[in-house]
């Protein structure tokens, strides 16, 4: 097959990247594969810019918030026990409202921090000149989902992505797995921080006990996958090995607060057996050894290869590509730079037909890129529209993260919502210079079909032309 270089350029920018910014197609057209490979950098992903506190600072904010809110809760509880509640309904309601308001006020700075993170990250995606690097990063951030679904993890989603994911996206998978599993964001999100072995000191004397949430999701979602053949006993054993993986709290001192902290008093003593292998290590190293084996497992390689092929090529990915990515992972000891290079070199990724339907986040980001714009209002331009489109940033409803499948996003209502957004967006951002067909050509290159070109040329206004471009099948897909 003699693929046109300019078509390959368009594929590089729209399928591997996040959509063309004005002029970007020309940059990629000379050497599309080289353009992509230049973005595979050992130092990992770009970092969002802005005043963004790290996880240590955020944990301290959270502790401060809890300090503010605890006395209010106590007052309320006290009032309940002494019978002040339940006598006068209006007064009770008033008191409850007051508590809610004070809580909301105390929460405000925390929530603003989350918003700042979403804003910085989206601005990076809309403006970066290395959008393959960013797409690759978003894939891994979604793979290791931490969500705002819980307040404790909400404030840590941004720091988690910046600290545990971005530095490792072109490093070894095992390092990213380790960074994720020991990050306060993940430890909070999947309830690990207080999990204690039944025979640990905390289990025996403080009535603390096991929580198997993180152990199960590491096996099912992060590594070997649900079909890997492990049992409930494997999950429980791994959960026991993970006991002690925790976070420094206030009492642990200022140098430790907000950092990963291994707590021997919570750790279940003894050897563990997970998926047929015995782990006799002591303490913290026991779970590390299991994590290391999970990262090296061919089942993990297959699971990740399958997911990557789905993300980049098709909802039903070509088996040959899956096999090649799996081999690349195993041959390189889980070197993600090598896996990324293999992906770029794979013929299956360069087929002219665009089979992937964009997620709402990808759609919105690529809209800004097509307009050569970046959002300036985080609430109105990012959080609100993406909430309506079904993908509020950082808020995946479940730990398996956001779906990559058209069946999940191309719902009837979803398309109407996309059109709503496209017209609102175009009213502000439709490019004011150049013929609309030239804007379309600069966005999609050779992927622009004759039908869409004609429809755009016939549009009465720039606004309408740009709306049609955003809603065209070739822009909705990649």
């Amino acid at each position: 097959m003699i693929a046109s270089k300019t078509l390959d350029g368009a594929i590089a920018v729209t399928r591997f990247g996040l959509g063309a910014t004005p002029g970007e197609l020309a940059d990629a057209a000379d050497d599309p594969r080289g353009w992509l490979k230049a973005q595979i950098t050992r130092d990992g992903a770009e970092q969002p810019q802005g005043s963004l506190p790290g996880s240590v600072a955020r944990v301290s904010d959270l502790i401060a918030y809890q300090g503010e809110i605890a006395p209010l809760r106590r007052q309320r509880k006290m009032a309940m026990t002494v019978g002040m509640v339940g006598q006068d309904e209006a007064a009770d309601e008033h008191a409850a409202d007051e508590l809610k308001q004070e809580r909301r006020a105390a929460l405000q700075p925390l929530l603003e921090g989350v918003r700042d993170e979403i804003f910085a990250r989206t601005r990076l995606a809309t403006a970066t000149a290395q959008s393959f690097r960013e797409r690759w990063t978003l894939f891994w951030a979604n793979h290791f989902t931490v969500s705002t679904a819980k307040l404790q993890s909400a404030v840590l989603v941004g720091p988690f992505e910046r600290e545990a994911i971005r530095p490792h996206v072109f490093g070894r998978f095992e390092d990213m797995l380790m960074a994720s599993t020991t990050h306060p964001g993940m430890l909070m999100y999947l309830d690990q921080a207080k999990s204690a072995g039944p025979n640990s000191m905390a289990g025996l004397y403080r009535k603390m006990g096991l929580n198997e949430n993180l152990a199960r999701e590491i096996m099912e979602l992060h590594t070997v996958g649900a079909d890997a053949g492990y049992t409930q006993a494997d999950v429980t054993e791994f959960a026991r090995a993970l006991t002690g993986y925790s976070i420094g709290a206030k009492n642990d001192g200022p140098d430790v607060q907000g950092h990963f902290l291994y707590r021997p008093l919570l750790h279940e003593p003894g050897a563990r057996t997970v998926m047929g292998r015995r782990y006799g290590q002591d303490g913290e190293d026991q779970a590390r050894a299991i994590l290391s084996d999970l990262a090296a497992s061919p089942k993990t390689a297959a699971h990740l290869a399958h997911k990557l092929a789905i993300h980049f090529v098709a909802d039903e990915p070509p088996p040959g590509l899956v096999a090649r990515l799996r081999e690349a992972y195993l041959a390189s000891n889980g070197d993600l730079a090598h896996v990324a290079t293999t992906l770029v070199d794979a013929q299956e990724c360069w087929t002219p037909d665009a089979r992937k339907f964009k997620t709402p986040y990808e759609f919105v980001v690529s809209g800004y890129r097509a307009a050569g714009a970046s959002p300036s209002d985080p609430a109105k331009e990012i959080v609100q529209p993406l909430t309506f489109l079904g993908q509020r940033p950082f808020a995946a409803p479940q730990p398996n993260g956001w779906s990559d499948m058209a069946a999940d996003w191309a719902a009837p209502d979803a398309l109407v919502k996309r059109l709503t957004w496209a017209t609102k967006f175009s009213a502000y951002y439709a490019p004011k210079d150049g013929a609309p067909v030239d804007v379309a050509a600069a966005t999609l290159g050779e992927r622009l079909t004759a039908a869409a070109r004609t429809a755009i040329a016939r549009a009465e206004t720039r606004f309408e032309a740009f709306s049609i471009l955003l809603m065209s099948p070739e822009f909705q897909r990649r």
Partner: protein
């Protein structure tokens, strides 16, 4: 405004015509001899804790197993000598008192799975084992000719759930949309562009029709409320769902999803995390009840989750992934009665794998009973198409009045 409603009708007719069926004239269940039968399925995602939804207050092991997260008997809403409802389920309780809500306290999907995502797949695909089917059982139910003619379904939410995916066209709706004149104009152009893309073409025309319908009955703009009080929107969404169901030519079936039930830590008891989510569920059922009005007497609502949670409280004031859970049935079309299915008890020897409430009833048996006796599907269609390989899970008798 008159202008807008005029536009909506035009749009509806136009898209109906382009689909090859006239949407507004589609035969709905209004033609059913039994009357206008409605079915709403609420999927509670994350594994809802049945032992808190319907605490078995008389089970000798309940309080010992549950400790701090048990629902105190004096605060639970008593259904009978053995079972109660969670104190937040006040509306469902009122329905139960009127003979219009029942619980099935120990149901499970056919395979023993503790992965949320696999279990949700199985619950919604309706197979006898995992990956047996890639379409949803409620979509396949649409393809089986019911005695009253074909019916349509509505998915509520930004994504279509698996349970409604398949060859039958469905509608979908979520709050926040408003079709403008600009959109109407552009949509005609898009319809042409999508001609070569069946996925987009089908979905887009259906979506525009549904918006037109919502506009006709004045679904209202919930944008502001979604921003300021997202937790209060459940009732409104349910009310709008009810409006869809009661429109002439509207859907007969609706599916809603609620999430947040994965309570591994600090689950709470009478109040707390789980209680808030149960209040949400109660609001949805109440919104459906009020919104359906007289149609409630021809409706069945099913609230179901992928699996239950461990019988024991765990080490962090929560519960881990378990097996059987509670299903809630509500609606004026229900037959009055006690609990649905047997209670296996929480005795040590009765727990599944020494940790979970054991199932006594297959979720498919309840679904089949409702589809047959309420929606008029025949046994053949149920056993062969809707729930393949389910002859070992026969339709449950006596659910429908």
């Amino acid at each position: 405004m008159t202008h807008e409603s005029g536009y909506s009708r035009r749009t509806a007719l136009k898209f109906g015509a382009s689909l090859g069926v006239t949407f507004l004239a589609a035969p709905a269940l209004a033609a059913l001899p039994q009357g206008q039968r409605k079915l709403v399925v609420i999927i509670c995602r994350g594994a809802m804790d049945g032992l808190s939804v319907s605490p078995p207050v008389n089970d000798p092991n309940y309080y010992a197993l549950r400790g701090p997260i048990a629902i105190p008997a004096d605060q639970a809403l008593k259904l009978d000598a053995d079972f109660a409802l969670h104190p937040k389920l006040v509306n469902i309780y009122a329905l139960a008192q009127a003979g219009q809500a029942r619980i099935a306290p120990a149901v499970a999907i056919p395979e023993r799975i503790r992965s949320h995502f696999e279990a949700q797949d199985l619950l919604e695909s309706g197979g006898d084992h995992l990956y047996a089917s890639t379409t949803g059982w409620l979509n396949r139910a649409l393809t089986v000719q019911a005695s009253g003619g074909p019916v349509t379904a509505l998915a509520v939410g930004a994504q279509d759930p698996l349970i409604l995916r398949g060859s039958a066209s469905i509608q979908s709706w979520s709050p926040g949309g408003k079709v403008t004149q600009d959109m109407e104009r552009i949509s005609t152009v898009l319809q042409d562009l999508y001609a070569q893309d069946p996925t987009l073409s089908r979905a887009f025309s259906s979506g525009m029709q549904t918006e037109a319908m919502a506009e006709n009955f004045g679904a209202g703009d919930m944008t502001a409320k979604m921003q300021s009080q997202p937790q209060r929107i459940a009732n409104d969404v349910a009310a709008t769902t009810a409006k869809f169901l009661t429109q002439p030519g509207g859907p007969s079936i609706a599916v809603l999803s609620l999430d947040g039930y994965d309570t591994h830590a600090n689950q709470g008891n009478v109040n707390g995390q789980l209680a808030n989510h149960l209040k949400n569920l109660d609001d949805v059922v109440n919104g459906l009840h009020d919104g359906l009005g007289p149609t409630w007497s021809d409706a069945v609502v099913i609230a179901v989750t992928e699996f239950g949670r461990t019988a024991h409280v765990n080490g962090t004031g929560g519960t881990d992934h378990g097996t059987a859970s509670t299903m809630i049935l509500a609606g004026g079309a229900l037959r009055r009665g006690g609990i649905v299915g047997d209670w296996p008890t929480l005795a040590d020897a009765k727990l599944f794998e020494n940790r979970d409430l054991a199932p006594t009833l297959d979720v498919r048996q309840v679904f089949k009973g409702v589809l047959r006796d309420h929606m008029g599907l025949d046994t053949r269609g149920l056993d062969q198409t809707v729930f393949p390989a389910s002859s070992s899970a026969p339709a449950l008798e006596g659910l429908i009045a």
